[in-house]
């Protein structure tokens, strides 16, 4: 299973998470988002970029509870809440945003 981006073939697992983290690009993010039926806007990118920074620092993709708490801390309570995050990513903010960000499935997601 694979995504097609600019002629390149990027392999992913059965749930759509890419296998090689370094394969990620902004163009790939748009392709993954399309398969998730998400039209990427600035708010989506803010979360995706936040996740990539979190991964860079801690080497894990955070669970949804932790993601929302951390967003609240750095971007404020009007964004760090369930309603806002689920409106952006209806099928799970951590799961969908991590997939688009090219990260593994969140650790501690149940």
């Amino acid at each position: 299973m694979a995504y097609q981006v600019n002629g390149a073939t990027i392999e992913h697992d059965e749930e759509g998470y890419i296998l090689t983290l370094s394969d990620w690009s902004k163009e790939l993010a748009d392709v993954i988002a399309e398969t998730e039926e998400i039209d990427m806007n600035e708010e989506h990118w803010e979360v995706v970029n936040f996740l990539r920074e979190y991964y860079e620092e801690y080497q894990i993709a955070p669970a949804v509870r932790v993601l929302i708490k951390s967003i609240k801390k750095s971007l404020g309570p009007e964004k760090g809440n369930n309603k806002y995050m689920y409106e952006l990513f209806p099928y799970g903010p951590a799961k969908q945003a991590c997939k688009i960000a090219g990260l593994p499935k969140p650790t501690g997601c149940v």
């Binding site: 620092e57 080497q59 955070p62 951390s70 650790t107 501690g108 149940v110």
Partner: protein, 136 residues
Amino acid sequence: MENDAKRFLYVNRKAPYGTIYALESLEVVLIGAAFEQNVSLAFLDDGVFQLTKGQDTQGIGVKNFSPTYRALGDYDVNKLYVEKESLEERGLSVDDLQEITYEDEDDDWEEKPSINIVSRSEMADIMANQDVVLSF
């Protein structure tokens, strides 16, 4: 909630690389943290190496997961007990360990250290006070 929750202690006694124990333990802790348990971690014997700073795994071709210990505070895991004798026997001190902190919800989110250095006899008491002890 905290008082009703079972007390879980994850005991880490092996070096971080070479076996899968350290990483598996950390993953179980992060997954288990979703269940509102009262979680503590103990580091003794070679397990104290898991928390050392400046880990570099490039030469052995595995992922350096030591930065993940610093995310434990985000998962509300903020009691890390490190045995003093185990550190000393390996020529280590608290200065060789990475700084791990959490923000105290009950104290205006003040940042506090998660690592507590305890003696061997204190560690025995900590273990005796748990409902569940999982050894890795």
